[in-house]
Every structure is written in C-alpha cells, then in structure tokens.
Subunit: 419 residues, 2 copies
C-alpha cells in the first residue's frame, strides 16, 4: 500500500470514528459548535481574504475566465453571507434522531421510523470556496462527518476555511468531523473512492469529467451534482415581454452558476418578433450569442453560428446558445438529448403546452414562466443547500440537511414472535 | 459491438420508451392492468407449477440444500399469495404524480414537489421466482418499467411468469414495461450494467458476490439489497423465557429467508442458565449449532466449534452460529464487524442497554425484544415489498412502491425574475 493510500484510509477511518461521536450530541451543543464556527470566521476575515487573494492571483495568471474568477472570489459580502448561513443553520430545528410514522401493527409491535445520518460524506467539488463552509455546517447539522476535496484553484481559500472550522469544533467534537483536502493530487481522490468501509456516500459536484470519473471509480454510492445545462423554451404561445425579461434574468443575472441558462429554444412562429429584440437585449448585457442559421437570419444582425458542440456546453460564462424549434415536441426532444436533469423552463401562456412540457421533461426542477435562477435550496424552501442533485435516487434537486440523512426502522416488542 | 450488447441496448431502450408511455396512465387503467395479471396467473396455475417442477427437479439434481429448495418452490399456497399480493397492490392508493409541500415563496412563486417514477429499474435477484410477480406489480404501481434478471435455478419459473405478465399487459401498455431475462448468461448482466442512458437504477438482491459484482460494474446508481447476516443479542438483563422463544422463532420459523438470524450473541452472565436450555430447544428443531468454546462448555453437550468464517456466513439454512460476549459493547462491536445492515435484535429488559444498542448499532431495522422475522414490508406497514435495502441512500430497509419513486420540484410563476 502506498503512503497516500495509507493516509487516505486513516483519514476515512477517523471520519467514521468522528461520525459515531457526533450521534450523541444535543441540539444545544450542535448550536454552540456552529456558532463557534461563525465567530471564528468573523474574527479571521482578513486572513481569509488574504488567502483568497493568493488563489485569485494564481487564477488570473492561469487566465481563467471572468465567470470562474467570480466563483472563486471571497469578498466581505460573501464572507458575511457564509457567516449568516452558518448562523441560520444553527437556529434551524434539529434534523436527526426524530421518530415518525409510529404505529402498532397487527401483532402488537410498536413500529416507527427514525431519521439518522448517512455517516461519512465525501464531497468533491470545483471552484467556489464557500462550499467548504456551507457543506461543513450542513454536515454538522445532520450529524454527518464530511471530507471536502476542492479544486486546486481554491487551494489556499479552502485550506484556511478548513483550519478555521477544525479549530472551532475541536474543543467539542473530534476535529476529523470536518476534513478539508486542499492538495491537488488526483491520487488522493482515487484512494478515497476505494474506502467504502468508512465512507458512506460520495457527492461529486461539478462538470462532466468529474462526475464521470467519480461514477466510474467510486466503490460507494454516488449522488451526482452534475452541471446545469439548463434550457429555456419560448413557446409560440409565450408572452414575449415576460419571455424577454426571463431570458435576460436567467442568463445574465449571474453567469458562473449552475442554474443560469445555457441554451435558449425559440419557437419558429415568434422568431420574427422575438429574435431582433432579444438579440439587442442580450448584447446590451455583453452576452455572446451562438445561434442557428434560422435565428441569425431573423435577428438580422451578424452573430456567431452555433456548432453541435454548443448544445452540449455549459459555458458558466456570459454566452448563450440559441436554437430555433418547429414545435414544442422538438424542444422537449432537444432537452431530453442535451439537458442535464437540472432546471428546465417553459415560457408559455397556454395551459396545454405547459402541461405537455411538465409531463414530458425529466429534470429535478421544471419551471413555468419563472427564471431558472430560482432553483436553489433557499428559494425552494430548504434553507442552505449542499448542492443540487441531478441523480434521481435519494434526492433529486436541492439537497439540504434533511437530504443528508436517511430513515431506518425501530421495532419495539415484548417477546413478540412471528406466527 | 457484440450481438448480446446490441440486444441489451435495444432491450434497455425499449424499457425507457415504455416508461414514458406509463406516465400517462390513470389509476383506473393501472388497476385494470394489475387485475389482468392476477387473472392470468390464476388461470395458468397448472402451467406455472409444471414449469416450477422442472426447476425443482434440476435443483435436486444439483443437490441444492433444503432452504434453497424451499425458496424455489411455487406451490398452490404461494401462487395464491402472489395473486393476492397483486390484487392488494391494485387496490392501494395511487403513488405517483401527486403534489405536496406546496407553498408560495417570498418572490410570489408557487413551489411544490411532485412524486415521479425513477424510470427504468434493473433488478438482479437470486432464487425466489415470486420476486418476478411482486416486483413487476410494484413497478407498474409506481409507473416504472422494470427489467428482471433472475437466477438460473429459477429459469423456467421466471420465464413463464414473465410471459404471463407480458401477455396480460400488452393490450394496455407496451409489453416491454416488464422484461424478464431467464437466460443465465452472465454477459447479459455485464452489458445491461453499461446502459446508464436508459436504465436509471439497478437493484441487486442477493449475496455478497452479486452485490460486489454489480456495485463494481454498474454505471448507473445501485441500491443494494444485501443478504441478511442478522444477529440477536441476549443481554445479561434479558428475560430468558422471552429470549428462548425469540431465538427459536427468528432462526427456525423459516430458514431460507434474509430476516432469519444467522448468529446469536450471548452475554456470559446468562450462559449457565441459557446455554443448555437453548441448545436443547434448537436441537429439537433440528437446528445445527456452531458455537465458541465457552458456549459449548456451558451447554454441556457435544457441539461443532465455530470457525472465524462462521461469523461471516449467511447460512440461509437451519444452522446457527453462537458466540459468547463479555458485555454489550462486545456484542455491538461484533455486529459492526460482521453485520450486513439488515436486522439486528437486542433481547433485554433494561432500558439503558436497549438504548445503547439502538444508538450504536447501524442497521436498516433495529429491534428490541422482537423476532427479526418481522422485518418485511407487510409487517412494517408498507404493503408488498421489492426487497430490503441495505444501502443507506434513497431507501434503507423495506422498499415498497413509494420507495421506487423520487420527488422533483415544480415551480410556477408569471414572469418572475430573481432580484
């Protein structure tokens, strides 16, 4: 066994051991632990920004695009946002150990379900360093130990956030409850994906290659948080004023996020009116358009022609691919081929078309006349989120603390035997 | 691509296509389809028994043990049981398409969750042919298409049941909604495990080797239904009369099933009284005992000594391994090393020990003073079951029709954009 293999085995084992200790802490203790993290983030703001500046400088040298730089940045507002998130999670009702569904069966046994943690969660993510704090807080809330492996772009930011968290929790619980791996060695991940004895689930959150790699190699269950190749379909029965506002918001309000749209599908009947208008609006927001020939003709201006690859590209940038469709079925078909089961939107005033879209589109969130940007845990009523699951099993859509648990059966008898 | 690879790709693709048609059937149609299956099972009883007799004859030639033969047999009672199960599922309330958790968020959007099917389920199972009927009915109830791959021992039985089901459903929905693979070619499974585009989840239900193989090779999510290496722990605070009844019931009431106990853990303080008594009782039921030295001494009779391997063996037969433990922690430790996350029982009148066991034992079902045989969907209030999941994610414990679905978000706005 290599040194790294040994280290990762040990790390997973310590995570498992910590997860057992976690099961006996009270709501008050949990709150105290989370508040300690919030406090230490607050008093270490300057150091956090200093570490983040190193990552930003390196990223600029590597010529990362503006959307990726935006994802990476930790400014005062964002650090305050993280702190507020932790405090909110601390105040929320307890998630684990509650009993439900209690009943007495025919044999006279008391049967109930108990909400229990998953155990040890391995999270592999790209870019945004705030993920470290959000996910550590959610793991503590749901009584799970967590191992966080971020991308190398955020190395210094992730490292300092991990240190602050461990320092905050170690007087209450084993510091290995939250372990952050800031090293960028791929071998670490390979080894961790073998540790099925001690890691209960792995959540990869990122692009195609990461998800594929983890799904192919993990020996434990995987809940994939794939990227958001989200579409908005403008129906022939759409209110074009609403459509225009929705496209601009869904594409340009924030571009480096998974719930921004990447592809716009436009019904041919509205092209003449809609194409010139939306082109102008998008260009006013500096958005780069890559469209099919039909759309470009109707837009009546020079635009880049989309290639086949564009329909499969999550730009995470201020770029939008646009395709003309002959009818709603062509739109649904395109989504079933190119969508990533994340967020899909129809803009239409017609109830029949809305329902057709709803019934035939498979995605964790289907929206009617609303911006895709609303698909996040906060907006959908879950509070803070670990990410957005595009795997159908266990959790489909935003995952909050509750989705980081499972339920088991508890049966209480008095010597009952089965007849 | 080999011929088998092509055939399996086509089979999965047809399953996916069928699953789309399923989404638009009504509760009444669903009931009619299930009742047609029940009817056709009833009028084809003789043929079913005839096919089953071929499997039983082959199994006897192969010298399968009595518990396995018992699992394989389809007699009148069992066929009637399958029919009754289908009829009950037909009468149960609708599972899919319902909306819940509806609320209006701050932005004024209507947000709700919709229960939706998983899509196409691949089920790989061993032995019991009734699984074909139970799982096909549950798949239809939950609007999923299903591909059922059974073991070669049950080849003829599975084949006829699959044919009866397809004949029953094909005038309502595509017959590929339920596809039964009776061939015993391993290559079929290899190919199906690659079909992640069209198969949404694979459920292996069986022993260690099957679960390992599927977990290592499947490209889609896996919900493992591992075997039941279930323990019963007799505490020093146990009521030994109850303990004796519980051991006999949990071990001998039916031996070829996953919720029978395989290992008994006995506190050393009760050995003198309990060992001779339970040995006599078990032997009266023809149960073979494999015990540690300490137990054998106390039992005061000649017994086979258990080897290390016994602690890891699911006999699925009338055999019980018995180990003496010095205290409850040793029992918990043994379970955490050798248990299969299925069903674990403590027999104790002491509330503190009951709670210690409950809090520290990780299993989909933890029981206090009750027979492990109660862990099934019917007894725990779920109705018919697909099997018992020992995977923590998605479903932990018995899986009924509801556990074969997921929920997604539906968001309805009127041009709402995110500020």
């Amino acid at each position: 066994m290599t040194t790294i293999a040994k280290e990762m085995k040990e790390l997973a084992r310590k995570g498992k051991k910590a997860s057992r200790v976690l099961q006996s802490i009270t709501h008050e203790q949990r709150k105290e632990i989370l508040m300690a993290i919030a406090h230490n983030l607050r008093i270490n703001k300057t150091d956090i920004k200093h570490a983040n500046a190193k990552d930003l400088a390196a990223a600029k040298e590597m010529d990362l695009n503006s959307a990726l730089l935006d994802r990476l940045e930790l400014n005062d507002d964002r650090i305050d946002g993280m702190i507020k998130g932790v405090e909110e999670i601390a105040e929320q009702p307890e998630v684990v150990n509650s009993f439900s569904h209690e009943f007495t069966n025919e044999a006279g046994l008391t049967i109930k379900r108990q909400r229990v943690p998953l155990g040890v969660i391995l999270m592999i993510f790209e870019s945004r360093p705030n993920v470290v704090v959000d996910c550590a807080a959610l793991a503590l809330k749901s009584s799970n130990a967590i191992i966080l492996k971020g991308g190398k772009e955020a190395k210094h930011s992730n490292e300092i956030l991990g240190n602050i968290i461990q320092t905050s929790i170690e007087k209450f619980i084993p510091k290995e409850t939250v372990q952050v791996l800031a090293s960028d060695q791929r071998e670490l991940v390979n080894e961790l994906l073998n540790e099925k004895e001690n890691i209960d689930v792995v959540i990869p959150r990122g692009g195609h290659r990461l998800i594929e790699f983890v799904s192919e190699n993990a020996k434990m269950p995987v809940i994939a948080h794939y990227n958001g190749l989200c579409h908005m379909y403008i129906d022939n029965k759409a209110d074009l004023k609403k459509a225009s506002d929705l496209v601009i918001n869904a594409k340009t309000q924030r571009t480096g996020v998974c719930n921004a749209i990447e592809s716009l599908l436009v019904h041919k009947d509205v092209l003449n009116e809609f194409a010139p208008h939306i082109t102008k609006e998008l260009q006013a927001k500096s958005c780069e358009i890559r469209a099919d020939k039909t759309f470009i003709e109707s837009a009546n201006t020079k635009l880049t022609e989309a290639t086949e690859q564009d329909w499969d590209t999550e730009y995470l940038d201020n770029i939008l691919s646009i395709k003309t469709v002959s009818n709603i079925d062509e739109a649904i078909d395109h989504i079933s081929k190119h969508g990533s089961f994340h967020t899909e939107v129809i803009v239409s005033e017609d109830a029949e078309n809305q329902n057709r879209f709803l019934n035939q589109v498979d995605a964790s969130c289907v929206m009617i006349n609303a911006s895709s940007r609303f698909n996040d845990g906060g907006q959908l009523g879950l509070g803070a989120e670990l990410g957005i699951s595009t795997t159908k099993i266990h959790a489909y859509g935003p995952m909050g603390a509750e989705q980081m648990t499972t339920s088991r059966y508890v049966v209480v008898g008095d010597g009952h035997i089965r007849a």
